[in-house]
């Protein structure tokens, strides 16, 4: 079932998906070149941001009534 969202809500979701993605990429990239004791934290944070991105996407899929592809 679709549900109505305000344009403002959608814009916030859109922005946050972009920022979560950017943050996940940064963490992944910084983990690659850093010492093991620091890579652990970067990877942990990168995973969190990846999951957060997926949660927002899932919310939008449910809002429009299903996945696109």
């Amino acid at each position: 079932m679709t549900r109505n969202l305000s344009t403002k809500e959608i814009n916030y979701i859109r922005d946050h998906m972009s920022w979560e993605l950017l943050q996940a990429k940064k963490c992944r990239s910084y983990a690659e070149g850093s010492a093991p004791e620091h890579a652990g934290l970067f990877n942990q944070l990168g995973n969190t941001h990846t999951q957060n991105y997926r949660q927002l996407l899932k919310y939008m899929e449910n809002a429009m009534g299903g996945v696109l592809h």
Partner: protein, 132 residues
């Protein structure tokens, strides 16, 4: 994330500060290269950005399920910020000036006095106010 907020260090000029000794695991030379310290600070800035913008999004949400999702993601960002800050703090990247005890006493003094202005008593009953 475990940090010791009671840790203190003494600066080269003798000032005592809240914080830890700078860890040797961070690069000593501070050149134009984008090093691990810059990477940590970059990620920290990103987390701080997310805590602020998620809070704004929560304030603007209409749908309760969206508000709950955003509140949860805000909490995630707050937690991530704490992880990065704590790591940097433990590596000695944060050193803060210690306030004089008189400054804390001053706050207590001033705001103890303001208590007479509180409009409800200890039991939650409204106190009479003068209408102009």
């Amino acid at each position: 994330m475990n940090i010791d907020p009671g840790a203190t260090v003494t600066s080269p000029t003798g000032a005592r500060k809240i914080g830890n000794k700078v860890s040797p695991s961070l690069p000593k030379t501070k050149g134009p290269d984008f090093n691990i310290r810059d990477q940590f600070n970059d990620v920290l800035m990103g987390e701080k950005h997310l805590t602020g913008t998620y809070t704004m999004a929560v304030n603007e949400a209409i749908r309760p399920d969206l508000r709950a999702l955003l509140t949860g993601l805000r909490d995630q960002a707050v937690n991530c910020q704490w992880q990065v800050f704590g790591t940097l703090y433990n590596l000695g990247e944060y050193q803060a000036d210690i306030a004089a005890p008189e400054q804390a006493a001053d706050v207590v003094d001033v705001f103890s006095g303001y208590q007479t202005q509180l409009p409800y008593d200890d039991n939650g009953a409204p106190l009479p106010i003068d209408q102009e």
